[in-house]
Every structure is written in structure tokens, then in C-alpha cells.
């Protein structure tokens, strides 16, 4: 028998054999591979093992498959991927980290088996799956072979099974075109280091396939994929920041959907009233403001963790805590597109609802919406169906959902923001600035009474009269009189009101009769 790939006979003495094992393990460690890792370090990047050490609680990583190597590649330690279990914030997680120093981090047959086994561990034990991606997808040397590729097995089935059971995180830390991006597309949270890339295919393949000449940063850099396309949830400058973002993201979530929410001790008083809230939202509905200031005044101090901050900025989606309890906040942002919902905003909000609902985070809506975006660009983007995705997700959700109507609540936008009674909000409160109705008063008056206005002796006066008449029926007190809201509150009480409600609501609603179907069919 042999203990080495070079097939020297193993010594008879167990101690001597143990020395050989230790030497084999040392040989795949960073210390023995300084030359191979020099390029990675020269680019300001951490090695795969350094990344794991920075991500996990100190000393908690237990590696599986360190000694793996493909039969015909003597210098491919671990077959290019480091896998195992570790703890983050004391809780177990699976980690799979590409090793770019081994054949460009490409995925080989043995490495794929390691990855699959770790994915299965997340499924079996209900623990988050964290993928640190840095490499070139399928190993070309193996992939250009029908016998091999037709029979290839991936971990996609396991990732889909894992979706909604345990959180899935992906960090794009280097070259991420193709395979790594395909994986990240199934993740709940994707963080991208600026300088890394992601996309369906890289520049060389694009050039060969279509002739398009585009550099990798313009094609798949963070400015494109995180800020403009929303493919990543967050873009950061360094490896360390990306790893910290994953630790932070996971702190809001249970390890799996059967576990209770991780409620943290909170030193921010539950009954804190914020004077500034009286002045943050202009009563004049034509004026914009930054809704993030409202959220910061209401949530536990320093607890906001915004997802996709650069993408579809007309809706803010943010993890947060209220009285130590994790929640998902969805807020219209009047600073951008007047706070309307367009197709990107719908996708952003719908995905966020699904994420929070899967893991039991209550949803808190801050409503100031003039409606869905209208016009031909909006129609071209398929907004009719995309807007329904929010409705669909709200209809499926079983977590508590609370709404605070800050100002405008118009039309389907109001309903899609969990306003009123359509989705049985567990709490609907409104500020005195609330203005809830089916559509903007001026526009609706022109549509419905255009002929009457034109025929009047003084059309402008008749129009003003009609508008004044409707305006008298649109206001917060009228909404409360019709019991479309539970109460009108002092804006300064928003935090105490929400914290109190969350403390008494059941974690899931039950008992709604559902027909015996197998699944829902999403509008997109």
C-alpha cells in the first residue's frame, strides 16, 4: 500500500506513517504553497483558507477533503476547492471556497464531489451554505469531452432543495463568469468585491460567440452587476468586507426555517420616541425626501442592513431589528422615480418578501407610493406581470406584516405595499400625512369628468370645484372612519407602536384554507 501519490511503499511503523500524513497535509497548506499563492496575494486578495479564517469564528473550521487530488494532476491540492464546516456567531455553517491558485479555481470532478457533499450537509443538518467563489467555472481540460460532460453532476438540485430551508450566501471574490455566477443565482444573498466579475459568460466567449467587444469590468463588474442590474445584493471594496457582510447577513436569520428567529439583546429603548419624525416627511406631496432617514429613526440603532442599495433605488429593502427582533423593511423611496414601483423595484421587493417569509422575519412596510410607474418604457419592461409578482409573494407570505402609511397610498401600489385590508395586514397604521385613494385626484378628475369640465361655463372653476370635492373625501381620518387602517398615530410613536405589535403577534399565521394543490405558479 502507499501513502503517497508517487507510490512509495508505506513504512510499517504507524508513527512514521503519521508523519507522512502530516507532511501531506502540510503540503496543501498555505505555508507550503507560498509561490503558488503569490499571485493571489499580489492582487490584494486573501487565499481560500485565509478567507475561511476571516469568515468563521476563530479555530472553528473543520475541513473535509483537504487531501483530495485528481488522479492525473499532481499539483492540484484539494482539487481546487476547500470545503468543510465552521461556526459563524457560534452557529454551524457549511463553507465551500474556490482556490484560485489551483487551476484557476476551476471545478474538477473530485472538487465537485466535495462541493456536493457539503451542500448535502447543509440540507441534512439545516445549516447555512456559504460559497466563496473565485474561479473559472467548469474545468476546461475535463469539460471538452462528451463522455464526461453529458454525465456531469452538479449541486443545483441540492441548492434548490436548500432554498428556503437554510440561508444560502455567495461571495463573488474574483473571476466569476459562468459556473460561479450560475451558483450565485440560486443564493439568497450575493456580495461582490469590486474588481470581481460575474455574468453568464466572460469577454472572450462573448467575442467568439457574437463579436461584441467588451471588457470584463464593463460586462460583469460590480458597477454593472450590483449597481445597475441587481444581480448582486451588495458591492464592497475588499475581501474582508465581503466576509463581514456575510457574517452580518446571517445574524438576522435562523439557521433554518424550523428554528426560531435569532433575537438579540437590545439596548435601544423600545419606547424611544423620535422627535425628528415630525419633520422628515413633508406634508406637501410634491416634495421628495429620503425615506432612509425615517427608517434609521425607527429601527434599533445601527441595525439597518440594506440589500441592493444601488439597484432599483425607488424601493428600499433592508434587514433591521426592532426591539432586538429581526425584521425585513420595504419602503418606497420618493427620492427616486417619485417612489413609484417599476419592474426592477418589483423584482427587488418580491424577492425580499420571499426571503423574509422563508425564514420567519416579519415584514414592515413604509408606504408613500404615487402608484406603479406608467408609460411605454414601463409597459415594455413587462410591468403588468412583474407587479403581480409582489402581489403573489404577499399572498403566499405567512409571517406577520405591518404597514405604516407615511403619505401617499395610491392604487394598486398601495395594495402591493401591504396597505389596507387586501392581505390582512396584522397592523396598519397611518401618519396624519396619509392620503389614500385609488389614483391621484387631479388625474382621476380629468379622466372621469373631462367632458363635464369642458362643457362648463368656466371649465377651470368647475375642475377646481370637483377636485376640492374629492379632496375633502381623501384624508387620514376618512381612512380611519372606514376602518381601512387600525389607527392614526403620532409619527414619533412609530417605533414603540411597531415594537409592541411585533412582541405579541404569532410568528406565523395559520388556518387559511388552501386547496390541495402541489404548488403555486409565479407570474414570472
Amino acid at each position: 500500500m502507499s501513502l503517497r501519490a508517487d507510490a512509495r511503499p508505506a513504512p510499517d511503523d504507524l508513527r512514521a506513517r503519521l508523519d507522512l500524513v502530516r507532511a501531506a497535509k502540510r503540503a496543501v497548506g498555505d505555508a507550503a504553497r507560498a509561490e503558488a499563492l503569490a499571485r493571489q496575494r499580489a492582487r490584494g486578495k486573501l487565499t481560500a483558507r485565509e478567507r475561511i479564517a476571516a469568515l468563521a469564528d476563530p479555530g472553528s473550521f473543520v475541513e473535509a477533503g483537504a487531501l483530495v487530488r485528481p488522479r492525473d494532476q499532481p499539483d492540484a491540492p484539494g482539487d481546487g476547492v476547500v470545503t468543510g464546516s465552521a461556526r459563524i456567531g457560534g452557529r454551524p455553517v457549511s463553507i465551500v471556497a474556490n482556490d484560485f491558485s489551483v487551476m484557476g479555481g476551476s471545478s474538477g470532478e473530485a472538487g465537485a464531489r466535495k462541493t456536493l457533499r457539503q451542500t448535502q450537509a447543509s440540507l441534512d443538518h439545516g445549516i447555512p451554505y456559504v460559497s466563496l467563489l473565485d474561479g473559472g467555472g467548469h474545468r476546461i481540460q475535463e469539460g471538452l469531452d462528451s463522455r464526461h460532460f453529458a454525465a456531469v453532476s452538479t449541486n443545483f438540485q441540492q441548492l434548490v432543495d436548500l432554498s428556503g430551508w437554510a440561508p444560502i450566501c455567495a461571495a463573488m471574490m474574483g473571476s466569476g463568469f459562468a459556473g460561479p455566477s450560475n451558483m450565485s443565482a440560486l443564493a439568497d444573498f450575493v456580495v461582490m468585491v469590486r474588481g470581481a466579475t460575474m455574468g453568464i459568460a466572460g469577454p472572450a466567449l462573448v467575442k467568439a460567440a457574437t463579436g461584441e467587444d467588451i471588457d470584463k469590468e464593463a460586462l460583469g463588474g460590480a458597477a454593472a452587476q450590483a449597481d445597475r442590474h441587481g444581480i448582486a445584493d451588495l458591492a464592497v471594496d475588499t475581501d474582508a468586507e465581503a466576509l463581514e457582510a456575510i457574517r452580518r447577513f446571517l445574524s438576522y436569520f435562523p439557521s433554518n426555517a424550523a428554528e426560531p428567529l435569532p433575537i438579540q439583546p437590545c439596548d435601544d429603548p423600545a419606547d424611544r420616541r423620535e422627535e425628528a419624525l415630525l419633520d422628515l416627511v413633508p406634508a406637501n406631496t410634491r416634495r421628495a425626501y429620503d425615506v432612509r432617514k425615517v427608517l434609521a429613526a425607527v429601527a434599533d440603532r445601527e441595525s439597518l442592513f440594506e440589500l441592493k442599495p444601488g439597484y432599483a433605488r425607488n424601493v428600499v429593502t433592508s434587514l433591521a431589528r426592532l426591539g432586538g427582533r429581526p425584521v425585513g423593511i420595504i419602503a418606497n423611496q420618493p427620492l427616486h422615480l417619485a417612489g413609484t414601483l417599476d419592474s426592477p423595484a418589483c423584482e427587488k421587493a418580491a424577492h425580499f418578501i420571499a426571503l423574509c417569509d422563508a425564514f420567519g422575519l416579519p415584514l414592515v412596510f413604509f408606504v408613500d407610493i404615487p402608484g406603479f410607474l406608467v408609460g411605454s418604457p414601463a409597459e415594455k419592461s413587462g410591468l403588468v406581470r412583474r407587479s403581480a409578482r409582489i402581489i403573489h409573494e404577499l399572498g403566499k407570505a405567512t409571517v406577520p406584516r405591518l404597514s405604516v402609511v407615511l403619505r401617499k397610498g395610491y392604487g394598486l401600489g398601495f395594495i402591493a405595499m401591504n396597505g389596507g385590508r387586501s392581505f390582512g395586514a396584522d397592523l396598519t397604521v397611518a401618519w396624519p400625512s396619509a392620503e389614500i385613494c385609488a389614483m391621484s385626484i387631479e388625474g382621476a378628475t380629468d379622466v372621469a369628468f373631462g367632458r363635464e369640465i369642458a362643457a362648463a361655463p368656466d371649465p377651470a372653476a368647475r375642475r377646481a370645484e370637483l377636485i376640492a370635492g374629492f379632496r375633502a373625501r381623501v384624508g387620514p381620518l376618512e381612512a380611519a372612519e372606514g376602518f381601512g387602517v387600525d389607527d392614526l398615530i403620532d409619527p414619533r410613536d412609530t417605533r414603540p407602536v411597531l415594537v409592541e405589535a411585533l412582541s405579541r403577534l404569532a410568528p406565523r399565521r395559520r388556518g387559511r384554507a388552501r386547496p390541495p394543490k402541489h404548488r403555486d405558479i409565479s407570474p414570472i
Binding site: T285, R286, R287, P334, L337, A338, G339, P370, S440
Partner: protein, 71 residues
């Protein structure tokens, strides 16, 4: 450097003038759209070179409303 409108709307007011130094996010023109006043702002700090629209002009999504020289 181009300042583009993110939304279709009508120009309500031009609030900056050519030659003016602007910081990032400073308003250049204010549009009316969706019954709100929406500013088209400087994408980055710089000097305003030219404003390509006037009051009451209809502006389309992604239309360039001003040109700037980056600082």
C-alpha cells in the same frame, strides 16, 4: 459627463446655470412627473457646461438634460 433624467416628465424649473460648480447630487433641473417634483442631479462633482432643456420641455427617460465637465 452627462446628467440624464431617470423618468419621463416635464421641466418645471431650471435651477443651475452653465459655468456653475456643482457637487455630486446637486440639482440641475426640476421635473414634474407622477405629480412630484423630481430633480435631475449632477452624477458627480464638476462644472456645468450646458443645459439642453428649458421650462415646459418634455423630457424622456434616459434623456441627457445637461453636460458637465468632471472636477
Amino acid at each position: 459627463m452627462e446628467a440624464k433624467s431617470e423618468i419621463t416628465g416635464r421641466v418645471l424649473e431650471v435651477v443651475a446655470s452653465p459655468g456653475q460648480q456643482l457637487a455630486e447630487d446637486d440639482p440641475i433641473v426640476v421635473l414634474e412627473s407622477m405629480k412630484m417634483e423630481i430633480a435631475v442631479t449632477a452624477p458627480r462633482a464638476g462644472t456645468l457646461r450646458e443645459i439642453k432643456v428649458g421650462v415646459d420641455d418634455l423630457v424622456e427617460e434616459d434623456q441627457v438634460v445637461a453636460l458637465m465637465d468632471p472636477a
